[in-house]
């Protein structure tokens, strides 16, 4: 959880590269140093998804890229995966909420680094990237497609048909509609696993700190260092935003409204778990290619995830890598800028929180300088342009 800052809107944009507004040396204790090192190294070692037999396969990656950009997956012929997950927008879309065939209710999450996730989407409705890739294809408000439509497309387009058969060893027609849709999801997943965010000035600082390279650490802006200190210290952001991706991969309620209209509620993680438990397209289902099947270590969280009341109105703790590129923020895209996000945590309305969460979250009441420092740190988690 970010939980920091006050607005100081007139000062936005100064941040990471600005001269220090506070003339003080920023040093870190051994405890802080250990905490900082846990945010790396970046990027992680390459890995593949055992539940997807074409994970890491070059042919599947190429097919996945092709399908990702193909609006014909939607019967309207207008909506591709890339319509909302736009490469030039960090694979998000810059809109408050996604617009597919119809207007949605959630912000489009970036796909960068998504392959490292355990649960996918704001509600974690899927435990595999291939399952998460199929869901928008068939969702009424997104691509509004169906297995039969996808199978027909793959069968009738000769280039797609050839690439599909080369990748999966069988044609979509021979495979059947639902298995063909699963295969499309797996090719899309293979492509998305390659979308890994670039190293940042924070990563350079972190690695220099690990190496004891004081020349290297001195290149990181003092404002970002102070923001980092807040992030891992009194801001307690790193309770949830931890590890190399700056997320624990879980879900929380941070007081963002979950009403989507009069009498309409986005149940968030609660609905995500309900969806997951009914889905056949999971690590626990027949379409998983993991040789260990349901007993795979990767499936342990899927077996044990619990539907609890506190999941209601909770949404995924997002990665903060590349956060500068993915505005607007929160599950419903209601916060337009990083200063607004920081202000949310600074002035948090605790009455909006679950009683459970109220014990963790509290208004941070940041000074304008602290807000700027935290913003500088957050911006340092994006690659330098």
């Amino acid at each position: 959880m970010i939980r920091l800052l006050i607005l100081a809107a007139a000062m936005i944009g100064a941040c990471a590269n600005a001269p220090s507004a506070i003339a003080q040396d920023v040093s870190f204790s051994e405890t802080e140093r250990a905490a900082i090192l846990r945010f790396g190294p970046w990027p992680p070692l390459p890995s593949t998804d055992a539940s997807n037999r074409v994970s890491g396969d070059e042919k599947a990656i190429r097919l996945g890229l092709q399908l990702f950009n193909d609006p014909r997956l939607s019967p309207s012929g207008r909506v591709a995966c890339a319509s909302c997950h736009q490469p030039e927008q960090a694979f998000a879309d810059g809109r408050p909420v996604a617009i597919g065939v119809a207007k949605g209710v959630r912000n489009t999450p970036s796909l960068l680094d998504t392959g490292f996730s355990r649960w996918f989407g704001w509600a974690g409705a899927n435990d595999t990237l291939w399952g998460a890739s199929i869901r928008p294809i068939t969702a009424a408000a997104e691509m509004a497609s169906a297995a039969e439509h996808v199978q027909t497309l793959i069968t009738t387009d000769t280039k797609l048909a050839a690439a599909f058969t080369q990748t999966f060893g069988a044609s979509a027609k021979a495979m059947g509609a639902e298995p063909a849709l699963m295969a499309v999801g797996k090719a899309l997943a293979a492509y998305q696993e390659t979308l890994i965010s670039k190293r940042t000035s924070f990563d350079q600082f972190r690695d220099a700190l690990a190496a004891g390279d004081t020349t290297g650490t001195s290149k990181y802006a003092d404002s970002a260092k102070r923001g980092l200190k807040l992030f891992i210290g009194e801001g307690r952001c790193s309770l949830c935003h931890l590890g190399p991706r700056f997320t624990n991969g879980e879900f929380d309620d941070i007081g963002i409204p979950f009403f989507t209209g009069p009498g309409k509620v986005d149940k968030g993680r609660y609905a995500g778990i309900q969806y997951f438990k009914k889905s056949a397209f999971t690590r626990l289902g027949a379409y998983s290619d993991d040789p260990a099947g349901k007993d795979s270590p990767a499936a342990i969280p899927s077996h044990h995830v619990a539907l609890q009341g506190r999941a209601f109105g909770s949404f995924k703790v997002p990665s903060l890598r590349g956060v500068q590129e993915t505005a607007p923020y929160m599950h419903n895209g209601t916060l337009n800028t990083l200063p607004e996000v920081i202000n949310h945590y600074s002035k948090m309305d605790q009455d909006r929180l679950h009683i459970d969460d109220a014990a963790i979250l509290r208004p941070l009441n940041l000074t304008p300088q602290q807000a700027l420092d935290l913003e500088a740190f957050l911006r340092s988690l994006s690659p330098t342009k």
Partner: protein, 133 residues
């Protein structure tokens, strides 16, 4: 949570700890209440925040005999007033020895492992603190 004997599979154990019948009484129990005491080990010994891990429990009951009844396990962060997002399952492996799977601590900090045993006069609740770095 389910009762021992009802759970199958899963614990075909990834990094299976060495299992033996409970050696009762336990010299230095991690938690005790009345006639009941237990200790546990974690696999891996130092779990990573956000990653699943197993717990092997050694439990003793009245007359210093291995406890063989049901055990329910859970974990929470008392200061935060929340628990885990997952419900572990438990199987009995040998008299007084249990393996619980499905733990996942999603935040660093002060956690508490909680155990509920079936005592002769009702539930027996035990707990032991755990600091998750």
């Amino acid at each position: 949570m389910r009762l021992p004997g009802l759970i199958t599979g899963a614990v075909a154990l990834l990094s299976t700890p060495t299992l033996a019948a409970a050696n009762c009484p336990i010299d230095a129990p991690m938690a005790a209440a009345g006639d009941y005491q237990l200790s546990y080990t974690l696999t891996p010994a130092l779990p990573t925040v956000g990653q699943p891990f197993q717990m092997t429990i050694e439990a003793c009951g009245p007359a210093n005999a291995p406890y063989t009844g049901p055990i329910l396990v859970d974990a929470d962060m008392p200061a935060h007033r929340h628990g885990m997002n997952y419900k572990p399952t438990v199987i009995s492996t040998l008299p007084g020895t249990y393996v619980a799977e499905g733990f996942l601590l999603h935040m660093p900090g002060d956690w508490r492992f909680k155990f509920r045993l079936a005592g002769a006069d009702g539930p027996v609740r035990l707990a032991h603190g755990h600091v998750q770095p």
